[in-house]
């Protein structure tokens, strides 16, 4: 057991899979020589050599297309798209190619690859380098969508993603790279589609993802200490597969459901959870499902404005307190 940063967990997770399987290769912009713009892939070039860890031109379509062609014919590529906002430049592969080739070919083609991408706000980069776009991927049948919140989950879920025979979009949160956590020694392999209850509570269920997880935990602590409200906090960990047994099972115990998401308001992943809960947990619910989101705006660069936009622990506390006491 050792303390590891989320950033270093990325490199360890990639290394674990590359050591295990010589068919795992890694490509992206500035990932090899520079060790990644977030320094999350430092040391991989030295460890695995330029044949397996490759810098590419600034050509996002070529990166994802090449990953797909390699995956279809026997490799297990890991492709990095530096900022998740850039998925928009190569969205054809995300929306039309990766997720449809297996179905359209009646099962002939397979696309076992992982796209790693830096997601989310907090770096004061402005509207084109700060978005949280896991909901873009969630809406497409045929993809799997993962977003870890802790170093140990980075390694375990990444291993599961690489070993999965489907295309997986793996969202790393930029504002979590410096976060630290305990990580056991040795190989770590987790399971996609398994949400985790990080804190038990009887009064309400709060579902979170990625950067919103530590904020949800912080809010739950405040609600407990200062207001005597006990919140059950669930880290979804993957949006597809979606672990609804854990979410709806919790709602059956608590009777209230809150989601906290970094996506802008319309069509964020919380909307889908709320819709499913309305369908399937209606009689368990003692009040409306409440979504806590970023407002439906492009993200500003200024630190005070960006902080205002994102759901914060105090905002979560305030919202839950008013809803439960209302």
């Amino acid at each position: 057991m050792a303390e590891l940063s989320y950033r270093d967990a990325v490199a360890r997770g990639i290394a674990q899979e590359m050591e295990r399987d010589p068919d795992v290769v890694f490509l992206g912009e500035d990932v090899a020589g520079a060790g990644g713009v977030f320094k999350a892939t430092v040391g991989l070039l030295e460890k695995f050599g330029p044949k397996r860890v490759r810098d590419t031109p600034i050509s996002e379509q070529a990166i994802l297309g090449a990953a797909m062609g390699a995956a279809m014919t026997g490799l297990k590529p890991i492709a990095e798209i530096m900022f998740s906002d850039f998925l928009a430049v190569c969205f054809d592969y995300i929306a039309n190619e990766f997720p449809k080739s297996h179905y359209m070919s009646n099962g002939q083609l397979k696309c076992p690859l992982v796209v790693r991408t830096g997601n989310g706000a907090g770096s004061r980069f402005g509207a084109q380098h700060s978005q949280s776009v896991e909901n873009w991927a969630m809406m497409i049948p045929g993809l799997k969508v993962v977003a870890p919140s802790s170093p140990v989950d980075v390694i375990g879920l990444f291993a599961a993603a690489v070993r999965d025979p489907n295309p997986v979009i793996f969202f790393e949160h930029k504002s979590l790279y410096a976060a630290k956590g305990e990580v056991p020694d040795g190989e770590i392999v987790d399971t996609l589609g398994s949400a985790k209850i990080l804190r038990p509570g009887k009064d309400a269920t709060l579902v979170a993802l990625a950067l919103m997880v530590p904020r949800a935990l912080q809010a739950a602590e405040t609600l407990s200490k200062e207001h005597g409200i006990e919140i059950e906090v669930i880290d979804l960990r993957s949006l597809v597969p979606l672990d609804l047994q854990t979410v709806l099972g919790s709602v059956a115990r608590t009777g209230r459901l809150f989601t906290v998401e970094e996506n802008p308001r319309l069509c964020g992943w919380g909307a889908e959870i709320a819709s499913i809960a309305a369908d399937e947990s209606f009689y368990d619910l003692d009040g409306p499902v409440v979504r806590i989101t970023t407002p439906h705006i492009p993200l500003p660069a200024a630190d005070n404005l960006e902080d205002l936009a994102l759901p914060s622990a105090p905002r979560i506390v305030d919202k839950i307190r008013r809803c439960l006491n209302g």
Partner: protein, 340 residues
């Protein structure tokens, strides 16, 4: 634009079997595409279809030069390349007719013909998407030390999309064993390609090759021998580890862009000028010049019609796909589950 002047070279070293194969492939593609059109008029081919009538020599020339294990990546105009790799007519027509005997049991349709068993690694209906994908397949060969070559066919219009430039640059930088084959049939959908490229450029693929350090190659795409020759050179280069080739084949499609297009935008006399250099007519004449008997030629033509009629009848008798396959193969476990 008129057809290229005839190349006096005729591949004198080719043996008779290879010559007959080149002719057979063209005849089978021509017959099958014409039948697809007829079936469309009868309301039996649904959705859309994009025919390669007039472009048969490109598919035949490249396929005849391939080795087993080489991979083809096609566009929505991919029937010809699929047939050229040996996929049975019944499976192709079955897919066009959206029957259960189709290549993908009706789940893909005309624009997505795929037969991994025959090296047809998909037909892609988003312009340019498959050029990077072919790079990836070639990267795998390079990485694993395998000698197969990935060949990517696309139209002249593709040369104006970003993925084309990303892929050709990527392949050149990584020295990948991939061949980019532009079938320049003079029209991007309904618009003449000359109207959407700079006036200084005559060949939208070949004239841009220098940007990526590649040789400028323009081939008479109506002459299967010329195509075959340039294909062999490119395969040898790729297998030797000397990187990609970009080849522009000048050809002409006799039908419209898709089934909805009557092709009224053609200047008068253009179609006739190209039909005078019809690839099948040209190649049949060449077989005669090389002393191949009329009976051997006729046998190929009759056999193609016989196979086509049998395939057509089989497709007409085939049921539609069962409803049970609607949700299969969304994920690699065979199912579509996104939740527990």
């Amino acid at each position: 634009m008129q057809p290229l002047p005839a190349d006096p070279r005729r591949n004198d070293a080719l043996d008779e079997a290879k010559r007959l194969e080149l002719y057979r492939l063209q005849v089978e593609i021509r017959d099958c595409e014409q039948r697809a059109y007829d079936l469309f008029l009868q309301g039996l081919v649904k959705g859309t279809s994009h025919l390669s009538l007039g472009q048969e020599a490109v598919a035949a020339g490249f396929a005849a030069a391939m080795e087993k294990g080489d991979l083809s990546f096609c566009t929505y105009r991919g029937h010809a390349h699929t047939l050229a790799r040996g996929v049975p007519m019944e499976q192709v027509l079955g897919e066009l007719m959206q029957r259960d005997n189709g290549l993908m049991r009706g789940k893909g349709g005309s624009m997505h013909l795929t037969s991994v068993e025959h090296g047809v690694m998909g037909s892609y209906a988003i312009i340019g998407a498959h050029l990077p994908i072919a790079c990836g397949a070639a990267w795998r060969a390079q990485y694993k030390g395998q000698t197969d070559v990935s060949v990517c066919f696309f139209g002249d219009g593709t040369t104006n999309i970003g993925a084309f430039h990303e892929a050709v640059n990527f392949a050149a930088v990584w020295k990948l064993p991939v061949i980019f084959v532009c079938e320049n049939n003079l029209y991007m959908e309904y618009t003449a390609i000359k109207d959407v490229i700079p006036a200084q450029i005559q060949h939208p693929a070949a004239d841009r090759a220098a940007s990526y350090g590649l040789e400028r190659i323009v081939v008479d795409g109506n002459d299967a021998d010329a195509v075959y020759r340039s294909a062999l050179t490119a395969y040898a280069k790729a297998r030797a580890g000397d990187g990609p080739s970009l080849i522009e084949c000048m050809t002409y499609r006799y039908s419209g862009h898709s089934r909805a297009d009557p092709a009224k935008y053609r200047p008068e006399g253009e179609l006739e000028a190209w039909k005078a250099r019809d690839p099948l007519k040209l190649y049949r004449q060449r077989l005669v010049e090389f002393g191949i008997g009329e009976s051997a030629i006729k046998r190929i033509e009759d056999e193609s019609k016989r196979k086509l009629d049998a395939a057509t009848e089989a497709c007409k008798a085939a049921p539609p796909p069962p409803e049970s396959i609607l949700t299969t193969d969304v994920y690699a476990d065979g199912g579509w589950a996104w939740r527990n």
